[in-house]
C-alpha cells in the first residue's frame, strides 16, 4: 500500500467511525449517571435525552427540557440530539421525533415535555393531557 492509499484509508475509516458513533444511541446507566444540566441522577428512561458533540462528547439529561436549556446555555457544536420514546423502549433522533408539552406531564425537572416516534401517537397523548405537539425545531425556537 502506498503512503497515499494508507492515508485515504485512514481518513475513510475515521469518517465511517464518526458516522457510526452518530448512529449509535446514547448509553445511559439509569440510576447512576447524572444530568449535565441539573446534576440529578437520571432515573427514568422515558424522559431521558442526550446529545453528542462534534468533538465526540456525550451529554446526558434527565429531562428533555434540561437538554434544551443546557444546549442553549453552552452552545456546543452538536452532531446529533437524541430523545427517548415516552411510550416505548427506543431512542429517537430528536429531529425526527414529535414532542408533547403539557403541565400535566410530570417530568423529572418539571418541563413537561416528552417525545414520541410518530405524530399520531403524539396527538393522541396531547389530547389526553391537554397539551400541544411540537417538532424539535419548534421547541428549539421557543427557548
Amino acid at each position: 500500500m502506498t503512503r497515499r492509499a494508507f492515508l485515504v484509508a485512514l481518513v475513510a475509516v475515521s469518517l465511517s467511525g464518526c458516522q457510526a458513533s452518530r448512529e449509535r444511541p446514547p448509553q445511559i446507566r439509569y440510576g447512576r449517571d447524572r444530568c449535565a444540566q441539573c446534576g440529578m441522577i437520571i432515573s427514568e428512561a422515558r424522559f431521558a435525552a442526550a446529545y453528542l458533540t462534534r468533538e465526540g462528547t456525550w451529554r446526558s439529561f434527565d429531562d428533555i427540557g434540561d437538554m434544551l436549556a443546557f444546549s442553549k446555555a453552552h452552545r456546543e457544536d452538536v452532531a446529533v440530539f437524541w430523545v427517548h420514546d415516552y411510550e416505548g423502549e427506543a431512542w429517537l433522533k430528536a429531529d425526527s421525533a414529535f414532542f408533547v408539552k403539557s403541565s400535566e406531564l410530570h417530568t423529572p425537572m418539571g418541563h413537561g415535555i416528552v417525545a414520541l416516534g410518530d405524530r399520531e401517537r403524539a396527538e393522541q397523548l396531547a389530547r389526553q393531557v391537554h397539551g400541544s405537539v411540537f417538532t424539535f425545531t419548534e421547541l428549539l425556537g421557543q427557548r
Binding site: G31, R32, D33, M40, I41, S43, A45, M109, G110
Partner: protein, 696 residues
C-alpha cells in the same frame, strides 16, 4: 349528631363483620367490593372500623370518612393504585397496603390523595411503586407510616412520598426504605419532621418548593440525603445525614435554592457532606450554615467556584479528608467563613478567648489537585499522595492559593448535636430516635477517635521520645507528667504524674469531683491541658490520629440509637475506625455477642449495652482501654460478668485505666490504685492478694 355518627359506626361495623365472619375476604373481589359498598352506603363523616382480613384493591374513598383498620390488609394484586381518596377530610389509619401496580407512567401508588385535609396515619406499605401520593391535597398529614419500596433497580422505583401542589402539609415520623425519593413539588409551608429515610435515591427532595422545614430527620445511606432544588425559604435543622456514598453521595445538596438555613445538623460519613451549586442565586437571599458538625466525609463542603453569598459560622470540621473542595478547581470568593472549628488548625489562643490568634487557611496542595482532577481520588491514602503532601510541606512554594480564610477560628468544636439532643430529650414528646441518633454520632466521635486537635509541636522534656513505631516502653505504656487541667478558676487536676506499664490495670479512685473523668478525657485528647502525656511515646495532641489507634474508650453509658441492631452498630464503628469488616467477627465472638447481632439496641439490658460498648472499644484491637465508671449502671450479677471480661482482657495483655466507685471492682481487676482528691494524687496503692481494704 353524635348519636347519628355512633349509630353509623355501629351499623358499619356489624355489616363489615358479617361477611368476614364466614372467612377472610381474600381472593378476587368480594372483600373489596364489600368494603367499597360499605363506603358507598356510609354516611358522610362516619367512622368505619375495618376488621381483620385481606381485601383486594382498588378502593375509592369519595366522601369524608374515617377508616380505621383492626388488622385489615389491602392488597393491590399488582394492579394500579390501591386506595384513591377523592374527597376531603378522609382519615386512613392502621392499614397494611401491599402490591400496588408497577407502572411508572401511571404512577401506581399505595395511597393517592386528590383532595384536601387527608390524614394518612400508622399504615404499613410494602411492595408498592409509589407510597403516599398527595396530589392537590393541601392541609394533609402523613404520620407514622412505614413504607418499603419494590425490590427493583433504582431506575424502576417510585417515590415513597410525593407531595404535588399540596401546601400546609405535615410529614411526621414516617420510615421509608428502598424507595426513590420523598419529594415535594410546587408546594409551600411543608414540615418534614422526625422521619427516617433509608436506602433511597434522595431522602428528601425539594423541587420548586417554598417555606419548607426539614427537622430532626435521620437520612441514612441514600444517594443523597436532602436535595433542595429551585426552592426558597428552606430550613434544614437538627438532622442526621449519614453514609451517602453512592452516585452523587451528598449529605445535603443545594441547587439554585435561596434563603436556606442549614443549622445544627450532623453530616458524617458521606462522599460529600454538603454540595452547593448556585445557591443562593441572588445575594439578598443568603444561604447560612451554622453549628453543623461535618465529620468523616471525603469532602465536607463542595462548592462550585461560581457560588457567592454563603456564610459558614460556628461549624465544626473534624476528620474530613478534605474540609472544603471546589468542584472543578478554581477559587472561592464572596463567601464568609467565620469562627468555625477546623480539626487541622495549627494556631494558638494566647489570650484565652476561645478563638485562634492566627487565621485558618485551607491550602493543601493535594486538595487543590483533587478538586481539579477528581480521578486522582484513586490514589487517596496512597504513598503517592503522602509524598505530595510531604513535598508541599517541605517546599511551601508548591502550596496553592488558600481556598478560604477563617480569620478567627474556634479553638474547640461546637457540639450542637449534644446540646440540642439534650433539649429534645427534655421536650420529651419526641421518641428518642432522633435524639439518640445525634447523641450517637457525637459520642461515636469521642469513643471512636477523640478530637485529636493538633496544638503543641514541642515534645515535653520529661517524656520519653516518641518511638519510630509503637511501644517506646512496650505496647500500651502510658506516661503522665505534671498533668494540670483548669476549668476557669477551678483546678480539676493538679500536677499529676504517674506511669502505667504495658499490660497493667490501673484504677482511678476517689469521690465525685476528684478528677477521675478529667484524667481520662485528657488521655483521650478531648481536653486541652498543661503538662505532658505520652501513650507509647506519642502525644495525644500532636499525634492525635496515631494515639487514637492505640485507644479504646468505654463510657459510663454508651448512646446508640435504639433502632440500630448490634451488628449495624459494630459495622458502623468499624467503618469509622477504618477497621476491616473481617476484624469484626472475632470481637463479636470474644464478647459473646453472636446471638444478639440482630437485636435492636433499645431492647438490650444495661449489661449487654456495656458489652456492646466494650466491643466497639475493642475494634481495631487497641492495646490500651480507658473505661469511665463502666459498671456504674449495672446490677451486681451483670457487673460480675463484666469484670470477668475485663480480667480476660487484662490477661491478654491490654493496658487498662478505669475509674470506679466500687471497691470490689478495683480489687477484682486493678494492679494499682491512684487515689485522687480534689484533683490531686494523695496515694498510690498496690493491690496484692491481701487487697487494699484499709485504703478503701
Amino acid at each position: 349528631m353524635t348519636l347519628i355518627r355512633a349509630l353509623g359506626i355501629l351499623l358499619v361495623s356489624i355489616a363489615l363483620l358479617a361477611p368476614l365472619s364466614r372467612g377472610s375476604p381474600t381472593g378476587e373481589g368480594p372483600g373489596m367490593r364489600a368494603l367499597q359498598a360499605l363506603i358507598a352506603s356510609a354516611p358522610s363523616g362516619a367512622t368505619l372500623r375495618v376488621p381483620q382480613g385481606v381485601y383486594t384493591g382498588p378502593i375509592v374513598i369519595d366522601k369524608p370518612l374515617t377508616l380505621i383498620s383492626e388488622g385489615a390488609v389491602l392488597d393491590g394484586q399488582g394492579q394500579g393504585t390501591i386506595v384513591r381518596v377523592t374527597a376531603p377530610d378522609v382519615m386512613l389509619k392502621g392499614f397494611v397496603l401491599k402490591n400496588s401496580g408497577r407502572s411508572l407512567a401511571h404512577e401506581d401508588s399505595a395511597i393517592l390523595v386528590e383532595a384536601p385535609r387527608a390524614i394518612i396515619e400508622e399504615n404499613t406499605l410494602s411492595d408498592v411503586l409509589f407510597g403516599i401520593y398527595l396530589k392537590d391535597a393541601p392541609g394533609s398529614v402523613i404520620r407514622r407510616n412505614k413504607i418499603v419500596g419494590l425490590d427493583v433497580s433504582e431506575a424502576e422505583r417510585g417515590d415513597a412520598i410525593r407531595v404535588w401542589y399540596s401546601s400546609d402539609v405535615l410529614i411526621q415520623e414516617n420510615e421509608t426504605y428502598n424507595a426513590r425519593d420523598a419529594i415535594i413539588w410546587y408546594s409551600q409551608n411543608v414540615s418534614v419532621w422526625g422521619n427516617r429515610f433509608v436506602g433511597g435515591r434522595y431522602g428528601i427532595h425539594l423541587m420548586y418548593a417554598q417555606e419548607i422545614r426539614i427537622e430532626e430527620n435521620a437520612l441514612l445511606k441514600n444517594f443523597v440525603g436532602i436535595y433542595a432544588m429551585y426552592s426558597r425559604g428552606v430550613t434544614i435543622a437538627k438532622n442526621l445525614s449519614l453514609g451517602h456514598r453512592g452516585p452523587s453521595g451528598y449529605g445535603i445538596g443545594l441547587k439554585d435554592s435561596d434563603s436556606v438555613s442549614v443549622a445544627e445538623n450532623v453530616i458524617a460519613d458521606n462522599s460529600v457532606g454538603v454540595f452547593v451549586d448556585n445557591s443562593p442565586s441572588a445575594p439578598e437571599t443568603p444561604v447560612v450554615f451554622r453549628k453543623n458538625l461535618f465529620a468523616y466525609n471525603e469532602t465536607a463542603v463542595m462548592m462550585l467556584p461560581s457560588v457567592r453569598g454563603d456564610l459558614f459560622t460556628e461549624n465544626s470540621f473534624i476528620e474530613n479528608f478534605e474540609h472544603v473542595g471546589i468542584a472543578g478547581g478554581g477559587q472561592l470568593v464572596g463567601n464568609l467563613w467565620e469562627r468555625n472549628f477546623w480539626g487541622d488548625y495549627l494556631g494558638y489562643d494566647a489570650d484565652g478567648d476561645g478563638l485562634g490568634d492566627l487565621p485558618y487557611k485551607s491550602e493543601r496542595l493535594v486538595e487543590d489537585l483533587l478538586d481539579r482532577h477528581p480521578q486522582m481520588k484513586l490514589f487517596l491514602y496512597s504513598p503517592a499522595i503522602q509524598a505530595l503532601e510531604f513535598a508541599a510541606r517541605a517546599l511551601p512554594i508548591f502550596q496553592p492559593q488558600p481556598k478560604l480564610i477563617d480569620p478567627q477560628p474556634l479553638m474547640t468544636p461546637v457540639l450542637p448535636t449534644l446540646e440540642f439532643a439534650r433539649a429534645a430529650s427534655l421536650r420529651s414528646g419526641m421518641p428518642q430516635a432522633a435524639t439518640g441518633w445525634l447523641l450517637f454520632v457525637g459520642i461515636s466521635l469521642i469513643i471512636g477517635f477523640g478530637w485529636g486537635v493538633v496544638r503543641w509541636l514541642i515534645p515535653h522534656p520529661l517524656l520519653p521520645s516518641p518511638s519510630k513505631g509503637r511501644g517506646a516502653g512496650g505496647e500500651g505504656e502510658i506516661v503522665v507528667r505534671g498533668l494540670t487541667k483548669r476549668f476557669g478558676h477551678v483546678i480539676a487536676v493538679e500536677n499529676l504524674s504517674f506511669t502505667v506499664r504495658a499490660g497493667e490495670a490501673l484504677a482511678l479512685w476517689g469521690p465525685n469531683g476528684a478528677g477521675k473523668s478529667t484524667v481520662l478525657h485528657c488521655l483521650l485528647g478531648l481536653l486541652r491541658y498543661d503538662g505532658a502525656i505520652a501513650l507509647d511515646g506519642l502525644d495525644p495532641h500532636r499525634q492525635g490520629k496515631e494515639v487514637r489507634r492505640l485507644l479504646g474508650f468505654v463510657p459510663q453509658q454508651i448512646q446508640i440509637p435504639d433502632d440500630f441492631t448490634v451488628g449495624e452498630a459494630l459495622l458502623f464503628f468499624a467503618r469509622l475506625k477504618g477497621v476491616l469488616r473481617e476484624a469484626v467477627p472475632p470481637v463479636i465472638q470474644r464478647l459473646g455477642l453472636d446471638k444478639f447481632l440482630h437485636k435492636r439496641i433499645g431492647t438490650l439490658s444495661g449489661g449487654m449495652k456495656q458489652r456492646v460498648a466494650l466491643a466497639i472499644a475493642l475494634l481495631g484491637d487497641p492495646p490500651i482501654l480507658l473505661l469511665d465508671e463502666p459498671t456504674a449502671s449495672l446490677d451486681t450479677q451483670t457487673r460480675k460478668e463484666f469484670l470477668q471480661l475485663l480480667n480476660e482482657l487484662k490477661s491478654s495483655g491490654k493496658t487498662l485505666i478505669f475509674s470506679s466507685h466500687h471497691h470490689n471492682e478495683i480489687l477484682a481487676v486493678a494492679d494499682r490504685v491512684l487515689v485522687l482528691e480534689q484533683g490531686r494524687l494523695v496515694q498510690i496503692e498496690h493491690i496484692d492478694g491481701r487487697g487494699v481494704s484499709e485504703l478503701l
